[in-house]
Subunit: 633 residues, 2 copies
Amino acid sequence: MSKPNSPVKFLSESASVDSLSTEPLPNSQKIYVTGSRADIQVAMREVSQSPTQQQDGSLEENPPVRVYDTSGPYTDPSVEIDVRKGLSPLRDNWITERDDCEELAAFSSNYTQHRAQHIGLEALRFHTTRKPLRAKAGKNVTQLHYAKQGIITPEMEYIAIRENLALEEAAIAEANAQQHPGESFGANTPAYITPEFVRSEVAAGRAVIPANINHPESEPMIIGRNFLVKINANIGNSAVTSSIEEEVEKLVWSTRWGGDTVMDLSTGKNIHETREWIVRNSPVPIGTVPIYQALEKVDGIAENLSWEIFRDTLIEQAEQGVDYFTIHAGVLLRYVPMTAKRVTGIVSRGGSIMAKWCLAHHKENFLYTHFEEICEIMKAYDVTFSLGDGLRPGSIADANDEAQFAELRTLGELTKIAWKHDVQVFIEGPGHVPMHMVKENMDEQLKHCHEAPFYTLGPLVTDISPGYDHFSSGIGAAMIGWYGCAMLCYVTPKEHLGLPNRDDVKEGIITYKIAAHAADLAKGHPASQLRDNALSKARFEFRWEDQFNLSLDPDRAREFHDETLPKDSAKVAHFCSMCGPKFCSMKITQEVRDYAAQNPESVESPETHFAKAGMEEMAEKFKASGSEIYHEV
Amino acid sequence: MSKPNSPVKFLSESASVDSLSTEPLPNSQKIYVTGSRADIQVAMREVSQSPTQQQDGSLEENPPVRVYDTSGPYTDPSVEIDVRKGLSPLRDNWITERDDCEELAAFSSNYTQHRAQHIGLEALRFHTTRKPLRAKAGKNVTQLHYAKQGIITPEMEYIAIRENLALEEAAIAEANAQQHPGESFGANTPAYITPEFVRSEVAAGRAVIPANINHPESEPMIIGRNFLVKINANIGNSAVTSSIEEEVEKLVWSTRWGGDTVMDLSTGKNIHETREWIVRNSPVPIGTVPIYQALEKVDGIAENLSWEIFRDTLIEQAEQGVDYFTIHAGVLLRYVPMTAKRVTGIVSRGGSIMAKWCLAHHKENFLYTHFEEICEIMKAYDVTFSLGDGLRPGSIADANDEAQFAELRTLGELTKIAWKHDVQVFIEGPGHVPMHMVKENMDEQLKHCHEAPFYTLGPLVTDISPGYDHFSSGIGAAMIGWYGCAMLCYVTPKEHLGLPNRDDVKEGIITYKIAAHAADLAKGHPASQLRDNALSKARFEFRWEDQFNLSLDPDRAREFHDETLPKDSAKVAHFCSMCGPKFCSMKITQEVRDYAAQNPESVESPETHFAKAGMEEMAEKFKASGSEIYHEV
């Protein structure tokens, strides 16, 4: 087991979430900003700061810093968390008031009904009376469909407020003025994001809002090149290890540290029941790769897969509330031989399964031949396509090859078909790619997939770092995020070696938050530098607590600092153990600053100023001003 | 203390190195390749691999993989390590046979003599009878001087063999053919590196060989844009924490994991004695920032620094064998006010010390006014300049500003002066820079510093990641390494928070090895992809042990894999715990491969081939070939 003393069997009576995952973050409070209607309550986190002590001893306030918050109700102390009940369905009204879907008497999937009758599953089943929703006959319930009609949904308004951190246009403009203009490579993020802009980007297919009508618990978020770069965390058990409870734990843990979406890649036991627990308790969109479960249904024998089994699996998962499906419809029979001479062949699980099926039957990929039928299902629940890159390179040697780009062009054709049905689409990308070949991936994707959002796994920029692949992939992720990739799929330190545990999940997420934020800064996303500026100001002023609290992982920042200087007094000390008191550049700089402040004329031209003034006198003046800098706050 | 049970007091009688630091790496052997003369023995590491099992059961050999090795004699079981004796001086002959330096009767530095008389230091002193070497009157002993005379030194030949991994020209060409052509941004690395090429690069000032004549223990290495990207590890105590023994431990540990040079940044007690232990036991060049020790000598009061004290410190350290000095001679009086409006002012310790001195005395930086005298000292011992960027930005907000680039242009002027004296020079760079502003740093440096090698700290691409700054700086490091930066100064997870311990040092080094290797791949350095290809082939063939052993950190790779699948049988299993047996894409791909191999015609055009053949028959054929794939080796 990845977690030593976790229960092998999961009991739905006793299910709970570790309090570690639900404590509010230090000095942070959850705020809800009301939109144009009372039931649009946009959640975000506000980090308060301590004041700055001025030379004259007076205090200057430092405004609280708002940060984008993916943790949902878990970090709100006023909400009572019970994973056995699930989260409250904040989107229920919005979905029903559109009056284009209906509640079904029963679940449509044969498999779902079969599992429901299984007595032995009682103990680990999520107990709910929820009835599935589906579009009324002839209706299309996708956000893309509404956007094309010119309708601004509450989801779109929620997203606009969220992307602006609920700051007024003036405040954003001011913050934006305090950052470097970015290089966006043709992306067109406006200075202030309006609900209408969100609608227009969705309508153009440049952005998606994964929002299954059967997952009303999720807080609206958007994936697109002109918005904040998002990250996905993969969880899920395997035949070898992990339990349902661990996976729910990983879900909550992922959203706490910044996972914008979570993919449940379970390939082990009780996939159906595990997913129900995850969806009902997830404040973020959930993605899956339905072919994994379909393969389980045929005991892992790819040749035995069929359209019928797959179709039932899509409906099963769509009615549970999965927000996006990875579909490997671009792995065509004629592309398979292109992988024969590769160093690492096909490394996508879904890709290899479909390749095996194609060769075994000498037929074209059934996901491709049945693509329009899949679209019909997607639009009945608003499930978004994540068109899988089944032929992505699995090594530096195989990067940007014929097989990879042949599939990419097919994904572009499928994108057009999905759009014809008003079904939302984004495209998956590699993989393993050396730095100088990363941009070509973004350029080719934009060109062949008509600006549909790109969603990449890394890419890893070298193969020689097992145990550190979260980092070697994070380099490629930061770069491609800057070039225009809309969402980055995290990689954990366990990649290529084993199933990640909770600590690995956190390490992967923080690494990818860094990559995504670095990309936002480089693109010049409005107000993205706000947090960097606040943290650096706190650092310069030795407001240690503020520096910890504004960081991506306050717990680790504090822990590392306290390892050598645990005392509270060190939290106001004007140095740390790295340089010690006499060698702290920031402390010395403060002295230089104080001097400049007291001698404004010196800032214009020191020479002339020093020439004017008597050297000795000036020297004394400086020494005096610099002498007692180390004041305890 | 950063290490719980390390002795506070260090005893020269009992000093030793942890066996963890001296064990050979798994499945690796140290090899020595002889150059044109018997005393040129170039050390490298050879990782042997297990054979590949073919379909027919026969075994195909996999050649051993050579890797660049910075660990010196420590990983050679045939060498007896005794840190109290120090390493053997492999360069002694080369230095003395040039007959341009002389052994001094006594150390020239007053401070050295003063310390030597100090009885209280007996217990922690490194005991040696070594006499210092210095250039004879009128002689210049720098590698740059020899290069300009057209002399190819043994050091240069050693480096050529080392950079080629001792592969023959044909072998390099073949390996090079198996990698992607890189994008080098104007760097001109030849397909095969000859001793003459090394000489010409040094002569042009585009590369440096830090090789103080008083540090004969170090193995020659080169820092330049047309060679492998190097990394530096910072160690050293502070007033707050750490002992001599820990620092020697960190030195050996750093070289084990790939530190190409090590900077001793000690600012605490017994800096002189600590340095002697480090230099005598270092197989890699050692760098320092002499102003730190000079400041200690005046009790941390910057105003009390003087040229005389600094000069004596340079001679003290040059005669100990320090290979390069960071000198902040570009921090000019008139630049200091440019930092007044910065978010984080001056963040370089040396920079802030010199700024304080300048303002206190209203005089120009004495490192600048005495620069030619410093050159005279440098060329008498062959100490290389690392011209410090005292005004580097310490936050995203301050990146690429007036103060930073003003200093850079001054460093360019100083470069010309140093070259006039045939003194080797490289240039230090930032710091904190968002991704889209990184390249400008490289371009400006090349332009204003006449292609002298660039040596950067990161840069960090965001400020909000304390606890993970090794990674946010690693992103910038990989990018600037690709753009042409010759050496990357590592950052550890403790950056901004405290003094790194041994684990932090390793984490920082592996992170930076990834960045440097990713840069080599992107630049298309000859044979840089060799190791990636070998590891990926091992991965695809489920040679787990080979995959671990070829990785940058075999210990962690094995540990992570074994966390979920500890049994030996798992080391030959055709899956890992991430996907489990049924979902391993590589295993399924193997089946697809086997099929293609048995039906070569299918590789040309599957459709026509499948059309020709009877569908059913082919299906059977494939199922048969794919059926019993899971064979225990």
